[in-house]
């Protein structure tokens, strides 16, 4: 496919942005809003009737809500990976897809943030976990992984929004110049008077670099902190030092799969095929081979350490996980997360949209199941046989999980049609940087 002229980036991306949304678009948005409404009903029902309407009970106190929390935090990881880490490494293919990936991060973390609130039951006292000085000086314990989690996830959400917005400022200025009427006034407000003057660029690029440098360790830290929620406890299957890299690799794996899942339809409907090309998706697929390999290693190490440690509780738990009532979830996880991405080693599987979409869908489902296996198995089958139990999500939990997906997609749909979905200025920067070096 021929390379776009610089002006064509504006025309293609802003053309998708400024064209009138179709009825199908608004129909899908309405459908997603209805899904959110259903979730709100389920949550209200749970608040009115009590936590008994959810399947979580003794001994499985952490069920679908925490599974969804960890899953959506993980989805949010690839956005910052693609954006910050690949920016620092000067990886050029990121420019076509990072804006959507960052948006995905923000919406995924917004989605994840709902689940601890839903899981609390008495959501109106959520502020008990925030570090505020009350009259009794009973501050939250900063030694608790749950408080680390609140601080880490909140920081991640704020920095992701800042990074997303600051990366968009030059493109909002381009949208301002192309738009008319009320939309122009909105973009003018958001573009902050950007003119592309060198003085603006020199401060902006240094600030953006700082944000990338800060966001990179943040990506690693956030899911490590989420993993500490489990690893700091003493339960078999949870109390292991491999959890932090295991969670980070899994998060990036699922995030990359979700990026591919979102970009394949959106590049078609927004007519961005010339900007978001198959080779960009192929690069994400290649990265998934790497993250899948890291996951495969951790899946192997877990039973190995259970055997090598000589710990009878770890041994019995490891065997139960592979052969017990949730064995189907364990083996499906391995097939979806490790075996399926291996098909990307075969070039046609990563350069054709149908296999790309199918494998990414399998990985996303597999990563949800992986969180289920991690969270439910350990609580259902710990040290003493008299406290072993079983867990099955109820319709309330399933309803809220589906509504969370609708909530996430709702925001992504609004974003894709109202904000620049591709980084226009940075796409040009690569071309102009080469031209500048040649001219110098």
């Amino acid at each position: 496919m021929s390379e776009l002229a610089l002006r064509d980036y504006n025309r293609t991306v802003l053309g998708a942005l400024l064209s009138r949304p179709s009825r199908v678009y608004w129909g899908v948005v309405a459908l997603l809003a209805a899904g959110i409404g259903w979730g709100a009903f389920c949550w209200a029902y749970q608040i009115c009737r009590g936590m008994g309407v959810a399947g979580i009970s003794h001994p499985v106190g952490w069920g679908a809500y925490i599974v969804n929390f960890v899953f959506w935090i993980g989805i949010g990881h690839a956005g910052t990976l693609i954006s910050a880490i690949l920016y620092l490494f000067r990886v050029r293919w990121r420019s076509a897809i990072y804006r959507s990936a960052e948006a995905m991060t923000v919406f995924a973390v917004m989605t994840a943030g709902l689940f601890p609130l839903i899981h609390l039951g008495r959501v109106w006292v959520f502020w008990f976990i925030l570090p505020y000085p009350n009259q009794r000086h009973l501050w939250p314990s900063f030694k608790s992984p749950l408080v680390w989690d609140v601080v880490a996830v909140t920081t991640y959400l704020i920095i992701s929004i800042v990074f997303w917005y600051s990366g968009m400022i030059p493109d909002l200025a381009a949208a301002r110049d192309a738009a008319t009427g009320r939309r122009r006034r909105v973009y003018e407000f958001l573009a902050l008077g950007w003119t592309g003057e060198h003085d603006q660029w020199r401060h902006y690029l240094r600030g953006y670099m700082c944000l990338a440098a800060l966001a990179t360790p943040l990506v690693i830290s956030v899911h490590s902190v989420v993993s500490f929620d489990f690893a700091m406890s003493l339960l078999p299957g949870w109390h292991t030092t491999i959890f932090a890299p295991y969670f980070v690799a899994g998060a990036i794996h699922s995030g990359l799969a979700m990026v591919i899942l979102l970009l394949i339809p959106s590049r078609r409907f927004l007519r961005l095929e010339r900007v978001i090309r198959v080779e960009h998706l192929e690069q994400a697929a290649l990265l998934m081979i790497l993250t899948g390999a890291i996951l495969a290693y951790t899946y192997l190490v877990e039973p190995f350490i259970a055997w090598y440690s000589g710990d009878i509780f770890e041994r019995q738990f490891s065997a139960w996980r592979a052969l017990g009532p949730y064995a189907w979830a364990y083996w499906t996880t391995i097939i979806c997360n490790v075996i399926a991405p291996l098909f990307f080693l075969w070039k046609p599987a990563r350069t054709r949209l149908v296999p790309l979409f199918t494998i990414s869908l399998l990985v996303t489902a597999g990563m949800w199941l992986e969180r289920f296996v991690i969270i439910v198995d350990s609580t259902a089958h710990d040290f003493l046989p008299n406290v072993w139990g079983h867990y099955r999500p109820t319709w309330v939990e399933v309803g809220i999980a589906i509504a969370a997906l609708c909530w996430f997609l709702f925001w992504f749909f609004l974003f894709s049609k109202h904000l620049p979905a591709v980084a226009i200025a940075e796409s040009k920067d690569i071309r102009l940087g080469q031209a500048a070096e040649a001219a110098l």
């Binding site: 570090p131 680390w148 920095i159 003018e188 008077g193 700082c210 040649a438 001219a439």
Partner: protein, 174 residues
């Protein structure tokens, strides 16, 4: 009247844009306003202003965030002085997680604030000499100079390959 003026020029390609910047630098023109569709740090050696204090402020804010976190964690532990096993109520190692997060949080927010402050970004219409073409594929150089230097600067810009050259009197010079 000394007659301070400015000349705006538009360039369609990188080569002529770089040639003009080189020529202006050789002619000692330091008061420039340069617009481009992308941030070209490669061209900084040709431009009068380089670097940015943004990073310094981010460093300061990051350190402040780290100290704030330890102050908050240790302070709250001492306020609630529950002695367990004869140990000091504060535990430094777990607080490192909070310290790291607040380092990143304050550093990141300061990065944005510093960019807004130093680049003078605020919700307002784009001001001249901005031209919407600079957001597409054109480059702009505006030279502020004495009236006597106008002909030579205009000639330099045209010779470099400027697509358009416009002389304008500054509004302050009535």
């Amino acid at each position: 009247m000394t007659g301070r003026r400015h000349i705006s020029s538009v360039f369609a390609d990188m080569a002529s844009f770089v040639t003009a910047l080189r020529g202006l630098r050789a002619a000692g023109m330091r008061d420039l306003s340069v617009h481009s569709p992308a941030g070209l740090l490669e061209l900084e050696p040709l431009l009068p202003r380089r670097g940015s204090p943004v990073r310094f402020f981010v460093l300061l804010a990051g350190l402040a965030g780290c100290l704030l976190a330890f102050w908050m964690c240790i302070g709250s532990a001492l306020l609630y002085g529950l002695i367990v096993g004869g140990k000091w109520p504060a535990s430094i190692l777990p607080y490192c997680v909070i310290a790291f997060e607040l380092t990143v949080l304050l550093g990141g927010l300061t990065a944005l604030a510093a960019v807004l402050a130093f680049a003078r970004l605020r919700p307002a219409p784009a001001q001249p000499p901005y031209d919407p073409r600079f957001g597409e594929d054109q480059f702009g150089i505006t030279v502020y100079c004495a009236e006597s230097e106008l002909p030579s600067v205009a000639r330099l810009l045209r010779q470099a390959g400027a697509r358009e050259v416009h002389e304008q009197r500054d509004s302050s010079d009535n």
